[in-house]
Symmetry: C2
Subunit: 198 residues, 2 copies
């Protein structure tokens, strides 16, 4: 069980994750954080040295909200082909119903941090690497069992998948996601089946 | 020739476009704008009623910086096939060397405005529509001359192109663009040639 202090900390991180994801790091003020947590400034600074430290904790929390069901989607399925398609279908839904309010925390943090916040930028970088490596490993497992075409460059295909997914998520933020995500996801599923020959 | 007032206005818009593109709308303060233009607050407000009005002018200016060479790339080439490949090659370079400092103003404005700034969001929406329609029209022209496979859904393919391009631009912001853009551009060129059979 969480102590009262741990509960308060968790609530701050949860509210901050939503605020940063919707309004961006610079767009989220201490007043916003106070209003959404119901805490005074001191109550927040009890748990975090500064806004920076809170932003990093909020990013890690937000990404874990995505990572956890993403891992689950990749773990279910009779073989690597099904798991790969589950992954695409996970993002098919994700573009329409973001897990964290405000869209994809990875995409938002990339754009928010690239020119201004090295620590968050490095976090975004690490997330891209982890996601592409997870996808590449899944492809490689399918190659090693003989299900997938062995000559395909797994890392390159993984990058291409993430590019299509994040591009579709981006455009879905301001246009009808139903016109963006379904054709992209269908294309991706077709591409995977064709390229990996499963 | 521009009058002195018009020159000042143009310089404010130019500096604001870079600042908003790098730091985001909320991250760019009046003090930043004053420092980069060398003007006092009144000197800026002489030309713009408020930060909102300046942000919209800066977005339009930034997008025109991209639109103009983009149109040029799509106008050069012996046929629609070459023009389409020129377009991909334009973005191949764009991800590595952004035209406006801070990255793609469309992508940045999508993420910056989606939850917070309806006027900029509407601007981003219109840009997506204009870009996809330009690409779709180019494809349709190639179809009408018999160069491209006629059964392909031009608008759908145009959306897919923009998704891949903006996704690659996004990931390139925080990782080595040379590992992201070349494979995506190569894939896109291959996809276009295969799908449109040219």
């Amino acid at each position: 069980m969480l102590t009262k202090g741990e509960q308060t900390r968790a609530e701050i991180v949860h509210q901050a994750a939503i605020l940063f994801n919707r309004k961006g790091y610079a767009g989220c003020s201490m007043a916003d954080l106070m209003r959404h947590t119901g805490l005074k400034k001191g109550g927040i600074y009890n748990h975090f040295a500064n806004k920076d430290e809170l932003a990093v904790a909020a990013f890690d929390y937000a990404i874990e909200q995505v990572d956890s069901p993403l891992r689950a989607a990749m773990d279910v399925g009779d073989n690597e082909g099904q798991r790969l398609l589950n992954l695409v279908n996970f993002f098919r839904d994700y573009a329409v119903h973001p897990i964290v309010r405000g869209g994809c925390p990875l995409l938002n943090t990339i754009i928010d941090s690239d020119d201004t916040h090295p620590k968050l930028k490095q976090r975004a970088q690490a997330t891209i690497q982890r996601w592409t490596q997870s996808i590449a490993r899944l492809i490689q497992r399918g190659q090693s069992t003989g299900l997938f075409e062995a000559s395909v460059d797994a890392e390159r295909l993984a990058v291409l998948m993430l590019v299509m997914i994040e591009g579709a998520v981006a455009l879905s933020r301001v246009t009808d996601p139903q016109t963006i995500m379904p054709p992209v996801a269908d294309h991706l599923c077709g591409l995977l089946r064709r390229t990996l020959a499963f």
